[in-house]
């Protein structure tokens, strides 16, 4: 039937297709995020289970991210008490730059830092290739959408938070 060589090739191909499937995709469970906040406390994505979470990758030096912050500053208070939370992951390497941007943009949601920038573990695990990138995660910790903004984000939040 199959030679040993062929079997190995098939096994490698199977393994590779499994790897490709292990992507950050809609309908999949969100991988854990466990990163430090400014005060050093670790914040875990899993601790937000039961809430609709926007996981937002950004950095102080990313212009479009700062513009996106403006939109979120308006949206956040409207949904916060209905069970919505934002967990922002900064790719900044400099804690001061990060904190300055947080203050300047007047953001009040959860902020953590993944100090390795593009090489950091979380950024790689989530396969972030450009920022801003955001994921919307439902109450069960399942990824439901990516890069929603403005009206589209509000529409999704209304659906996910409605009973």
């Amino acid at each position: 039937m199959f030679s040993l060589k062929q079997t190995i090739v098939v096994l490698i191909l199977l393994f590779m297709s499994t790897m490709v499937q292990a992507q950050i995709k809609q309908g999949y469970k969100a991988p854990e995020v466990a990163l430090p906040a400014a005060n050093g406390d670790t914040i875990r994505l899993s601790s937000l289970k039961g809430k609709v979470v926007l996981l937002d990758f950004w950095a102080s030096w990313c212009g479009p991210c700062r513009i996106s912050n403006k939109g979120l500053v308006k949206l956040y208070p409207k949904y916060k008490d209905k069970g919505f939370e934002i967990l922002a992951v900064s790719l900044d390497e400099d804690v001061d730059d990060w904190q300055k941007a947080v203050k300047k943009d007047k953001v009040s949601w959860l902020q953590v830092i993944d100090k390795g920038g593009w090489e950091s573990g979380t950024v790689n695990q989530w396969r972030i290739v450009a920022i801003p990138t955001s994921y919307l995660i439902n109450k069960d910790g399942v990824l439901v959408a990516m890069d929603l903004e403005g009206k589209n984000l509000e529409k999704a939040l209304n659906e996910l938070l409605g009973d």
């Binding site: 030096w61 593009w118 972030i128 450009a130 801003p132």
Partner: protein
């Protein structure tokens, strides 16, 4: 012998790179990744103040501006500006303002017979290292064919450069 040693030691230590494109260049990992794969690049950081990349070079490895350009273009962007900084020890730019650093030739625009000492920053003026607008401006005031072609002309050979060799154009 001493001069040769000094020439060899003249090396770029860092650079500031502005990249342009349809999307935010700093916000993409593509350029960052491509630059870090260059043998002479030690580290790359986003510099928010100048919306540019701060690059630190590896000591002892020759810096090739064309390789930086290729990396940026390979990542889907363009170089909008490149400033390279090096330390120099009494390096005379000569009457033609042409010097050799490593294996690359550099021609100073509007500067001749100057002695470079200490930390000096060169701004690349070649077509591939400027925005179209900035290149138009410089090429309207500096009329030398090699600025567009990047290749040395016959009238530059007395400085040691061979006709057709790669020559970068810089200002300080």
């Amino acid at each position: 012998m001493t001069l040769q040693v000094l020439m060899m030691q003249a090396q770029f230590s860092k650079a500031n790179l502005q990249a342009t494109g349809l999307t935010c260049a700093l916000c993409s990992n593509a350029i960052n990744k491509a630059l870090k794969q260059l043998p002479f690049v030690e580290s790359v950081k986003a510099d928010i103040k100048n919306s540019s990349f701060s690059i630190v070079f590896r000591p002892g490895v020759e810096v090739k501006p064309d390789a930086i350009k290729d990396a940026v273009e390979g990542a889907g962007f363009f170089v909008g500006g490149l400033q390279v900084t090096g330390s120099f020890n009494s390096l005379n730019t000569g009457p033609d303002g042409i010097i050799k650093i490593g294996t690359s030739w550099f021609r100073f625009l509007k500067v001749s017979n100057q002695v470079l000492n200490g930390e000096v920053t060169f701004t690349l003026q070649d077509k591939a290292f400027l925005t179209a607008k900035a290149f138009k401006k410089i090429s309207s005031t500096v009329k030398i064919p090699s600025l567009s072609t990047g290749k040395a002309e016959a009238d530059q050979v007395k400085s040691g450069v061979k006709k057709g060799e790669r020559i970068y154009h810089v200002t300080i």
